[in-house]
Amino acid sequence: MIKEVIAVVILLLLLAGSIVNVLYFEGLVNELLGHIDKAMEYAVKSEYESAVEELEYAIEKWSRGDRYTHIFIRHSEIGVVSEAFYDYLSDLCDENNKSAKGSYEKLRWSLTSILTMEHVTMGSVF
């Protein structure tokens, strides 16, 4: 009976861990989205220096979470997000507003897709 109770406890812990994991990613992605949105607002106002600063802060935040994200997310997906971050940064540094709009959308999409995959929905399960 003890063995079965331990098994149930482990399953509950895994369930709790999954919820914590989703909440962590939700928090991280929403925070990053806030920064990249702000960077876009600066870019629209042609305040590129502030936009770059804002984005660099977001990149640092994303990189700091590396240890955790590498454990739970496919490394190829981490690569896609990181690439999107640097594409966006490159466009902001070039002060290319048109191109920045596209890379902003790409970064938004790749970040949101991580969250979509972690969220328990019919789509993500099946």
């Binding site: 009976m1 063995k3 079965e4 331990i6 098994a7 149930v8 482990i10 399953l11 895994l14 590498h70 454990i71 739970f72 997310i73 496919r74 490394h75 190829s76």
Partner: protein
């Protein structure tokens, strides 16, 4: 390369521990749920080994989850007869009084060749001699012969054979198994005396030595000794 190496060790240990904890049944005849777990575990655990881009946790979580499910199902199985019947079905009587139950044969998708092959595994070549043949829920066939066809027992012959007990290994490849020796009520001095009687210098010259409750010794020397 180092990552693949470490991951393989981690997955191997995880599978080893979970299979060991699942019990000895896992290694023998598998019931339906055990078969599913065994097949799934091996398959799921191998993916992160082949692709280092997949987090190892993606292999470990399914292994742990499956193990927990298996333990819970095994627990419910022990407690509930209804659940056991639902999960494993019921044994099927394929032969009764020497007659093959064709309905049960069809139901279990069993051919006559398979049935006779299984009977031959029990050294039975004539179906007429079988009182009952039962297909167990784990897929094994058990056959019970008519009383007249069963081997004669000592009781039937009014014999009272001595019980030699369980022969235990006391020297295994030159090493004395002191615990077994103690269980048989012997000590190392007794062993030394016995070895001297057999002109053996010491346990290192013995490959296998077994002893039963009637003090009967089975002895096999090391091939390279002397």
């Amino acid at each position: 390369m180092a990552i693949v190496f470490i991951r393989t060790l981690v997955i191997f240990l995880a599978l080893l521990i979970t299979t060991r904890l699942a019990g000895k049944r896992q290694m023998g005849e598998l019931e339906l749920n055990e078969l599913i777990v065994a097949v799934l575990m091996a398959n799921l655990a191998s993916h992160p080994l082949q692709d280092i881009g997949i987090p190892l946790i993606n292999g470990l979580i399914p292994v742990i989850t499956l193990f927990c499910c298996e333990v819970i199902i095994a627990g419910i199985n022990l407690k509930s007869v209804g659940f056991r019947a639902f999960l494993h079905g019921k044994p099927s009587i394929l032969i009764m009084d020497g007659v093959v139950n064709q309905r049960e044969m069809r139901k279990n998708r069993l051919t006559l060749e398979e049935l006779t092959e299984n009977l031959r595994n029990h050294s039975i070549t004539d179906i007429r001699k079988v009182k009952y043949a039962i297909l167990e829920t784990n897929g094994t066939l058990n056959a019970i012969l008519f009383p007249a066809e069963r081997p004669v027992t000592a009781v039937q012959m009014n014999l009272n054979p001595e019980d030699p007990g369980f022969p235990s290994i006391i020297i295994n490849d030159g090493k004395v198994l002191k615990e077994n020796l103690k269980l048989l009520g012997k000590d190392e001095q007794w062993l030394k005396d016995e070895l001297r009687k057999m002109n053996v210098k010491g346990p290192e010259e013995v490959y296998l030595m077994m002893l039963d409750n009637l003090d009967q010794i089975y002895y096999l020397p090391q091939e390279n000794a002397k």
